[in-house]
């Protein structure tokens, strides 16, 4: 869905998100988080999947409905340096979060994009133009290779022998299981890896502490007596993009 905004002075960067109000009245009550999909001349677009009540209401909105928006929020993906080759991995609507990143560095990024089936793969033509190489995969094989993005990843590195010697930087957004595997791969091969997380959010600005994600101790500057307990960071302001090495899986 596309939103136009009267005062869109500060555009969102790849990886940042917005909090959108869904429906009128107080039910549903909270705003919903959606990544920047792509900026437009007079606003921005988001890409969303129908999950529950809020997104269902969004689907039923008539064009021209005004929605409350808070953002852009959160930390964007760190940009690749001149010497780095971006390797972007998206699962499902995770594409939303990384799409504008791929477009921002035309013909540079290797793009791996997977979903349940063909009709869940969006903007494939734009991606083909924007990416240096695009590998599609679907669980049912209806489009691209049958399998997961991880299969594509292994295929990619095996077909591009030299790839792992290049200075790679990985970006990933998708289901948690996928993020875990990508992170493990990245750490195993010593690749700088950034992943975008999801968590249930209330405020989106770091005030309510709803969006906790467990991180490794050494990374935390906090002193505390309860050292048996995990340490948490906020997905909304410390993230949603995290260095894979930070996360305590």
């Amino acid at each position: 869905m596309e939103l136009t905004s009267p005062e869109n002075e500060n555009q969102a960067l790849p990886g940042q998100f917005y909090m959108l109000g869904a429906g009128q009245g107080y039910d549903p009550l909270l705003k919903r988080a959606f990544s920047l999909f792509r900026n437009t001349p007079d606003g921005f677009q988001i890409l969303y999947r129908i999950q529950g009540r809020g997104t269902s209401l969004m689907r039923d909105m008539k064009a021209g409905t005004s929605v409350e928006v808070l953002g852009p929020l959160g930390r964007p993906y760190p940009e690749p340096s001149k010497k780095q080759t971006p390797l972007v991995i998206a699962g499902g609507v995770g594409l939303a979060s990384v799409f504008s990143l791929v477009e921002k560095f035309p013909k540079q990024a290797y793009m791996l994009y997977g979903a349940r089936s063909g009709e869940d793969l969006f903007s494939v033509t734009e991606l083909r133009d924007a990416a240096r190489d695009l590998l599609l995969s679907t669980d049912d094989g209806s489009l691209g290779k049958k399998g997961t993005v991880m299969d594509s990843l292994h295929e990619l590195v095996s077909t591009h022998a030299t790839l792992l010697n290049e200075r790679l930087i990985m970006y990933a957004c998708g289901p948690e299981q996928m993020l875990r595997e990508v992170s493990q791969f990245g750490m195993a091969h010593n690749i700088q890896t950034y992943i975008s997380f999801e968590a249930h959010m209330a405020c989106g600005v770091g005030a309510c502490l709803s969006c906790a994600v467990a991180v490794k101790k050494k990374k935390s500057k906090q002193k505390s007596q309860q050292d048996n307990q995990p340490v948490y960071k906020k997905v909304c302001t410390d993230g949603p993009v995290f260095d894979a090495r930070e996360i305590a899986w």
Binding site: L30, A199, G206, A207
Partner: protein, 304 residues
Amino acid sequence: MSRLDVQIGSMHLKAPVVSASGCFGYGEEYSEFIDLNRLGAVVVKGISLKPMHGNPPPRICETPCGMLNSIGLQNVGLKVFLKEKLPFLRTFDTKVIVNILGNSLKDYEKLARSLDDAGVDAIELNVSCPNVRKGGIWFGTDRKMLGKLVSAIKASLQHSVLITKLSPTVSDIGEFAQIAEDAGSDAVSLINTIPGMAIDINTRKPKIRNIIGGLSGPAIKPIALRMVHETYKSVTIPIIGMGGIMNASDALEFIIAGATAVAVGTANFINPLTTAEIIDGISNFMKQENLTALNDLTGSLHDG
């Protein structure tokens, strides 16, 4: 010209609207979205002696016209608060109220003393947090302990105003307000969240990892409003009313029911400008009703 300023004990608020603890971080989180100078006071997230990491996620879930939370009192701890958070708040022309939580009377006393020394304007005793088994909840529903706690803290304060935040999980809130007043509390604030639950029927797991969370938002407004009115009828100290306040009309309901000031919690999440808009709304209402002072409104319910 109508005046919006109110008095909470010896503390003077230029506006009758403050942030609710835990819903406004340490102030700084919202400082780029709203001018903190507009608020009567910033009430910060509950502070404990040592930092607390909080509960494992999921920590919140949405419910009809409300939300459940079980943050687990995550906070930076007293030391970091004094060193890193308080100085920032001091740069604004607004009062600073610190919500404190301990597991023992000693904890509460230590917290109160150091914050009093640090010159915070008021201390809000969180004796009603539903998220930790020991500590809070226990003081909040035990008559004797509450009285003991309040008088002990009152004795350990030099300058700071003492506000006791009451637990809603009692049959007679007026009685507990009375206990706080008798023990020397300068004001009471209510209500805290009401313990609640939600279940994912497919996984058969609680939607909140801690099983029970605190319910807040418009859903609890009628309950909060009733408790504020009951409290108003049983004590003479000022009341800071809260619970589901989303707009000026809601805030005015609480004031008419007996609140001297109101706190806004969950509404900040939906619209960070809520507090400022409520202050403007109250001001307009007073003009329209030709009221000069807010006191004329407080407790003005026609319940004949």
